[in-house]
């Protein structure tokens, strides 16, 4: 069994991260009735003997003593991290896992990346090494951050670079929250594009998320629950609810949205942690969904958004879950995969679902989806027996699809609108180590990426000419 470390950077990263740890504890508590520290728990948590002062040795077997998250919390402002440390999750985090500063990055990628990066480099490497040492077999780093600000975007991508240098063998999965069009941070296009270059070059897989999509999903759920149509049989939403976690107070507005992202990560790692008839580990995700090194942006969708209280799930509802996974309004970014080109698609099912259900639905949905000519049957499937908390089944769909292109193109447009006028540029250029070249390189990297997607899109719907096979002398 392998371990993963979560690095949460900036306000957004830490808020999402906080929800992740809360939901992870809830999930393991539901599965692990005996309180024994098992391999599944060890993937994200250490078991520490807190009786001895200071850093007690890790306990690898036996009863759970005190669980510590395998995490690094980084923020250049103290507010969010302090709140976490005063909240119900305070015992889950080791004080040595935090790196904070006071003044923040001022929504400036250069400050986050160049200034704080330089300043905190050694500290970060040191703490990363310590976390890695506690791991028997470290497989993956999960970075959670937003792209539009200064810390998450700048320092977050700095850490990404560091991880590649210091731990080249370990996978780097990045969950990036992209700014929406109406973002109130004016310089968010600059920050995002500068960060994109780093993601292009140093991440193994990126899961882009857009707030707009999360917001729409949360609204839809509220409507369903409040409409009364479903009566009292509707349980709390599968993806947004914090029921059963440490949150007892009134949920903050972003909590439901952050829960979605947290659930994404839980479902992504479920097959690596729990048993099933067809396991799907994290290295398999990267292997199957990344056909060319730079095309590693995966559009995700989680279904169902809520499940009714029925334990016996009729086939029709199960099939609806699969259909929804491909619909536009279930994606976590503003994209429509059905009308774009699939390079690859992965389906990770949890709970009481068997291979025949999977096959039936793949057969049913395949004709309406466009797959690239060299990967007509490009499906990766996983079956995990353990369902999410309080529900009987769920599905996570990950798609490497050209539908990410519009998101990137809009980002490029917004960037160019500012850049042409040289608006706010001086804030960046006055940071040590930052020059105009950084901007031109970044936009060039983004343009190249968009061009790669364009070339693939051009093949869509064209005539299929299979390359001729090798001829053998008889």
């Amino acid at each position: 069994m392998t371990q993963s470390v979560v690095v949460q950077v900036g306000q957004c990263g830490n808020q999402v991260g906080c929800r992740f740890w809360d939901l992870a504890l809830r999930e393991h508590a539901a599965v692990n009735k005996k309180g024994i520290y098992d391999e599944a728990l060890s993937s994200f948590f250490r078991n520490v003997d807190t009786r001895s002062a200071g850093d007690g040795p890790d306990i690898y077997k036996g009863k759970i003593c005190s669980l510590k998250a395998r995490a690094l919390l980084i923020d250049m402002e103290e507010g969010v991290v302090n709140e976490i440390l005063q909240g119900p999750l305070r015992d889950v985090f080791d004080s040595k896992q935090l790196i904070t500063d006071v003044s923040g990055s001022g929504n400036n990628w250069a400050v986050g990346h160049k200034l704080y990066g330089c300043q905190y480099r050694e500290n970060i490497v040191d703490k990363l090494r310590k976390t890695a040492e506690h791991c028997d077999c470290l497989q993956c780093f999960f970075i959670i951050h937003s792209m539009g600000g200064g810390t998450g975007s700048g320092l977050g991508t700095f850490v990404l670079n560091l991880l590649e240098d210091e731990f080249p063998e370990v996978y780097r999965f990045v969950t990036s929250v992209y700014p929406s069009g109406e973002d109130d941070v004016i310089t968010s296009p600059y920050n995002s594009v500068l960060a994109m270059k780093e993601l292009n070059e140093h991440a193994d897989c990126v899961l882009p998320i857009e707030n707009e999509s999360l917001f729409d999903i949360v609204n839809k759920i509220h409507q369903m629950i409040n409409s009364g149509k479903l009566g009292s049989t509707v349980k709390q939403s599968l993806v947004t609810s914090s029921v059963g976690t440490t949150k007892t107070a009134q949920e903050k507005p972003f909590d439901a949205m952050n829960n979605i992202v947290a659930n994404l990560l839980l479902n992504l790692t479920s097959s690596a942690r729990f048993e099933g008839s067809l396991n799907m580990d994290l290295n398999e995700i990267s292997m199957n969904l990344v056909p060319f090194p730079r095309l590693h942006y995966l559009v995700s969708s989680l279904t169902p958004l809520y499940t009714l209280a029925d334990v016996n799930v009729p086939t029709r509802r199960l099939d609806q879950m699969f259909s929804d996974a491909f619909s536009r309004d279930h994606q976590l970014i503003q994209a429509d995969p059905k009308h774009s080109l699939y390079l690859a698609c992965a389906l990770l099912v949890r709970g009481n679902v068997q291979v025949s259900d999977l096959r039936r639905n793949i057969e049913r949905l395949k004709p309406s989806l466009h797959f690239v000519s060299w990967n007509q049957e490009g499906w990766k499937t996983g079956l995990c027996s353990v369902p999410p908390v309080g529900h009987s089944h769920s599905l996570l769909a990950l798609a490497n699809n050209t539908c990410v292109k519009p998101t990137f193109m809009e980002l490029k447009d917004r960037f160019m609108r500012l850049y042409k006028k040289k608006a706010h540029l001086h804030h960046y250029l006055q940071v040590d180590g930052m020059e105009q070249g950084c901007f031109s390189e970044a936009i060039s990297s983004l343009s190249d990426l968009i061009e790669e997607y364009n070339e693939l899109d051009a093949t869509k719907g064209g005539p299929r000419t299979d390359p001729s096979r090798l001829k053998i002398a008889v």
């Binding site: 069994m1 392998t2 028997d136 048993e275 398999e284 291979v355 395949k366 990766k380 096979r469």
Partner: protein, 453 residues
Amino acid sequence: MSIVTVQLGQCGNQIGPEVFHTLCGDARGTHGLCSKEENASYHGACKERFFSEAESGVPVARAVLVDMEPKVISQTLSIAARSGCWKYDDQSHFCQKQGSGNNWANGYSVHGPRNKEVIMNLIQKEVEKCDRLSGFFTIMSMAGGTGSGLGAFVTQCLRDAFPTSFILNHVIWPYGTGEVIVQNYNSVLTLSHLYRSSDALLVHENDVIHKICAQLMHIKQISFRDVNQVIAHQLGSIFQPAYTAEAGSHYSRNPLGDLMETLVPHPEFKMLGLRNIPQMPENSLAYSTFSWPGLIKHLRQMLIANAKMEEGIDWQVRPPCPGSSIPSSHSTNKLLHFNTSIANLVILRGKDTDTVDLGSFRDPSLYTSWLNPQDAFNAWKTPRAFNKYEKSASLVSNSQFLLKPLDDIVGKAWNMFASKAYVHQYTKFGIEEEDFLDSFTALEQVISSYTIL
């Protein structure tokens, strides 16, 4: 003589216990439908073959479990132990932590060499427990990373370490519409490498078994466990003891050797397909009766028309007329529909097997011209019924059964290779484009050989 089973990867370690369960259940079962002496004789021949007797009386499977991550093996071991009828040797397993990531190169070039010594030691230990070794039976899928890549490596090591033992690879072919996106690459690399070191490849296709589960076993929500149980039944039907020579007086003791001798006359042709009839849900068994002539007729037509199961057989397909002036390899009818065989083996188990007429299988038009039909066809029988089926007939065929599936896999892999998609994932671990090309060439050769039969 004994067979040592090597279970590789998740698939191998999920099928393995089902096989042992079926073998054990059949050996101890009371549905033999034959005389006591016969049963005792059968039981005696079963002993030693796949199990060794422990002091506790619970048979211990002669198996080595290998996987690059721990979840499946730990599940498998506990399921076996809980069954009470048989178990694994507690020491006879090896796993790592990270898995192979569906990457053949990772399994073959990294995990293989790194863990060679430990794995070969475990196998050696099992071999030493055998009085006489018949050979090795490896179970693996070719779609993933461990079973396929590490499996190919281990097979090579077995060949090097045991040059005179037989190696039979049981290979699971994945669903056509994907379990793993790079499954066609992994398959091409696996098959080309296995072909060099193995004696024969016994193939089961997930699509086919799935259909059997749906249409014959009437299972509504088919799980991998259901699929594996059908596979285990089919394997059991060929591995359990049978009389190999006509009017032989004792059960054959060399199962693998006998199989190879009858089915693999030429090293260019190693692909074996398996059919077993009848197949039905267990609770229907008591209400069904079959006649041997009916079963044989169906089985023969399944062979000729390349039908995967006993429903939906195309009865229009006929063997070409003997004495036709057109050389058989150019007849379009033959190429498209008719399944030409190199060698066939029919195994009959149950009531009245001595009355069965198998002349229809000796028809020379079924076979390629360069083998004498007397040599190309063999029949094994036993009056002892198998796994609660009053009558059961199996066909192991070295024929064009797998030609089209193989061609499809190579075609899809080639299509993907032409765009170079995913190749960087393999070169990362030391498998270069040349290695791919070598594998493609090797398999095109196999396809060509089978096509011109």
